[in-house]
Symmetry: C2
DNA sequence: CGGGTAATTGACCCGGGTCAACAGCAGTGG
DNA sequence: CCACTGCTGTTGACCCGGGTCAATTACCCG
């Protein structure tokens, strides 16, 4: 989501330093940080997919957002004493950690960066709200279509679409936890979506055949992504 | 949510000036700001209840958070070109507007205020995530109980609880839009809750008879409210 | 005292959940 | 290189929480 284009050339080196600094790898299906932990740093997803989720004591799980390559997690979260949610790797992930001290210095020295980060955080919040709308109001079919549209658009922004096709590392269990459904019903819904010909979800990839049509069934309105906004 | 206690005495006057500045009144059931508008200011709820919501083209509506007296809406939102959601008054509301220029100056001059605002924004985001968890995973009864717990706790923090009782301006339609249910089913669920004796929702007020019991059925874990955190 | 908003109730229905069995596939270790 | 194991996806029968529709009764405020 981080839009480097919005920053001046003078700011770029500051970010580059951060990115190559302290890069870690996380295996698929491991947690990057867990609810209750004391957050000490901010991190950037360099490669791979991750998700933010919350759980109920009895094991029910809700995924509340996906992190794609280039996304920044939890700006300023170190102000709080403990994490109120977990972040888990979906695929193998590379993350660049930025300590709170380093991060605050960056903000102090580069006001334009601070603004870009605010901007990023606001968009993240907007996406999470749209998510709540999906979970609360869209039915299974609309919700699945919406998620396809959103991920496609976000990956397109960072140049990860090739010929209407994106990588799709999400299992039916991920989708179920994201949409508030069961895996069984996600399976039925995927089959239905595939049958319409608007898009095809198959092992490892999503291909969109008719974006406008898909957006239509999803009641997808891209303005919540704020692509047009300059930081 | 704004915790004045966390600020030094030197910062208080700065905030007071803002609050008495440009106070407006909004009638119940009117929108304070609407999706698509160009946001130019930040505002503080001085009195009354409001809610943040999103709508689908066909009229389905999802409330994604409630604003209670003392809450600040949409920090820094003026960075974005247009609102991705609406804010509506539930009761008559008094709001103090703060222009973006005024707001930025405040942040520049008072770093402690900036930090308190970040802190507030992070808690707001945490509350919205818990909301998604409710909508996606809790059933009607658990969700209603959870909402009762949350509003009770938040009002208690700002001193608006008297003898286990809070004002409750929410109609069944508000609850339906918040929880992703229909008014009919909200009605059934309220009746059920009242029958258990854990709490009583009646016209205009909510009385909690057994907070621990209610938290138990709600799977309520207050840590997401970050009450313990100092700014 | 009238009109619009809010709550209540009941009959019926459906989207999605539950449970269970099975098949495919990928990694792992021997 | 094969066998094992644990994820992942698929399918089917049955069920239930919550939706739909509709009519009726409070309310509250002017």
């Amino acid at each position: 989501m981080l839009n480097y284009g919005a920053l001046s050339p003078a700011d770029a080196p500051a970010l580059d330093v951060l990115e190559i600094n302290r890069v870690r790898s996380i295996k698929a299906r491991r947690d990057i940080i867990r609810e209750g932990d004391d957050p000490k740093e901010v991190f950037l997803i360099v490669r791979g997919w991750a998700c933010r989720y919350k759980m109920l004591e009895d094991g029910r799980r809700q995924i509340v957002s996906f992190f794609l390559p280039g996304d920044l997690c939890d700006l300023h979260v170190y102000i709080l004493k403990e994490m109120d949610h977990s972040v888990g790797a979906i695929t193998p992930v590379s993350i660049a950690s930025i300590s709170s001290a380093q991060f605050e210095k960056l903000c102090d020295d580069h006001p334009r960066v601070t603004r870009a980060l605010w901007w990023d955080a606001l968009i993240g919040a907007s996406i999470e709200r749209e998510w709540t709308l999906t979970v609360g109001q869209r039915d299974a079919y609309e919700g699945l279509a919406h998620l396809c549209c959103e991920l496609y658009m976000r990956l397109r922004l960072v140049g990860l679409v090739e010929k209407q096709r994106i990588t799709w590392p999400l299992t039916q269990a991920h989708l179920a936890d994201a949409l508030g459904l069961t895996t069984t019903h996600v399976g039925r819904t995927i089959r239905r979506l595939n049958e319409t010909g608007l898009a095809t979800i198959s092992r490892g990839s999503l291909t969109i055949h008719d974006l406008a049509g898909l957006q239509n069934v999803a009641l997808f309105n891209p303005s919540y992504l704020h692509f047009n906004a300059a930081a």
